[in-house]
């Protein structure tokens, strides 16, 4: 029945029309649809829910989450961006800076350098604590001086040949162990994630001598603490051909979508279009510019199928970041549950 099909479409597809997007909000709450039991059922959720990892390498992760609602998927995305803690440089003690980069600019740049240190091994620093202790602070030193190269050719104008240490890279940052950190981290692999981040440029006679204190923080406080380059999701596209499309129209249809989405098959000598892989489409909506084709195709997205893409800055592997984000949400809920319980005890 058409009405039944309409209800199903309203419940689980987001329709992209020519001038707007329909069925955006989640409506499957108890009482909205007669004949449907929409009360929360953990068993039903567990049966429908699945996670598929599509691609994972050292710094990027692409995975699908199917059967979950937008509110919770978005919560994971927001936590990945702003509430998973990392270590970053917070205080910079400038002992000597005769370079042309101002102190505060230099400090700002140092703060943005990602530091390869597992934040789970450290605690948050207390507010009033001035001296950093070994459990919450990492100390780094950057001490570099530029000088003239005595062995350079007389007429050379290449700075690489004329000067020694004229470019300050993140590889010049060294770790200074505090307290018992030398025993806790015997492999001494605490350094910036990338060695080739250019911090400042010097000329002979200029030097930089700074001491940096690195603490644990979250992205909500300052973006330097965000562990992801970016974390985003999109919904799975769903392209339906409402009528068979053949011949020239099929070729035009193929060009309207991203490559690989529409496939032309040769059935009995005629070219027939078929949706091969809707997942690859980026929905440019080019189809709506063709009056003869725009009513023959339905562009939609599957409401509960999320294609996540997480790109880490290198501090932690991306799958660890997603696990930590889920644990942060659990922690938030537990905090309020404990608060409720402790108030009821009173």
């Amino acid at each position: 029945m058409a009405a039944r099909g309409g209800v199903e479409e309203m419940r689980n597809r987001v329709i992209l029309g020519e001038f707007g997007v329909r069925n955006v909000h989640t409506t499957d709450f108890p009482g909205n649809y007669p004949g449907y039991d929409d009360a929360w059922d953990q068993a039903k959720f567990e049966k429908n829910f699945r996670v598929d990892v599509i691609h994972m390498d050292e710094n990027t992760l692409e995975f699908d989450m199917v059967g979950i609602d937008a509110a919770i998927a978005n919560a994971f995305r927001r936590i990945l961006l702003a509430e998973v803690p990392t270590m970053a440089v917070e205080k910079v003690f400038v002992y000597n800076n005769t370079s042309i980069v101002q102190d505060e600019i230099l400090a700002h740049r140092l703060g943005l350098i990602p530091i390869r240190a597992d934040p789970r091994l450290f605690e948050y620093k207390n507010q009033g604590d001035e001296e950093g202790t070994e459990i919450d602070t990492l100390q780094f030193q950057l001490k570099i001086k530029c000088s003239r190269n005595p062995h350079s050719a007389r007429e050379s104008s290449d700075p690489n040949e004329l000067y020694i240490n004229h470019k300050v890279y993140s590889k010049h940052i060294t770790w200074v162990p505090l307290g018992n950190q030398a025993d806790l981290f015997p492999d001494a692999d605490l350094r910036p994630v990338h060695d080739d981040i250019l911090i400042a440029q010097l000329r002979p006679g200029q030097e930089i001598d700074v001491l940096m204190h690195c603490v644990k923080g979250i992205g909500k406080d300052h973006a330097k603490f965000s562990p992801v380059a970016t974390a985003s999701y999109r919904l799975l596209p769903d392209i339906t051909l409402l009528q068979p499309i053949e011949g020239e129209a099929a070729e035009t249809l193929k060009k309207c979508f991203s490559p690989g989405v529409i496939e032309i098959q040769n059935i009995k000598g005629k070219k027939v279009a078929r949706v091969a892989n809707a997942r690859m489409d980026t929905f440019s909506r080019e189809i709506f510019r063709h009056d003869d084709l725009k009513n023959l195709v339905r562009l939609a997205r599957v409401r509960d199928h999320y294609i996540f893409s997480v790109e880490s800055t290198g501090v932690l592997p991306p799958d660890v970041l997603v696990s930590e984000a889920i644990k942060v949400l659990i922690g938030k809920c537990r905090r309020f549950l404990d608060e409720l319980d402790s108030n009821h005890m009173d």
Binding site: V51, A71, I72, I330, N343
Partner: protein, 114 residues
Amino acid sequence: MAEEVERKPVLEMVQADGTDGNCVTFVLHDEDHTLGNSLRYMIMKNPEVEFCGYSITHPSESKINFRIQTRGGILAIEPFRRGLTELVDVCQHVLSKFEASVKEYKAQREAEMD
């Protein structure tokens, strides 16, 4: 009603006079859409809840007003607690499924390398 005096309050409950506990506004401090929207979804899925919504009072203050009204004579604190526990269960299930999927993917990659 639920305020700590020594440290900053985390959760407060505001109730209008004359009602008997089945419509309450909770003030959650240091929270935003992240917990607000996901908790709202879980509580709305409860058939006993007549109304559930949240709002951020002012974008400069990080607190949300979370209102629950129940049908029948149930105390509003009951769906709030149930929503939190259900959200914890959902997250734990998501975590276990995700970690299993990652492990399977890594095992598959290892098998392909050999």
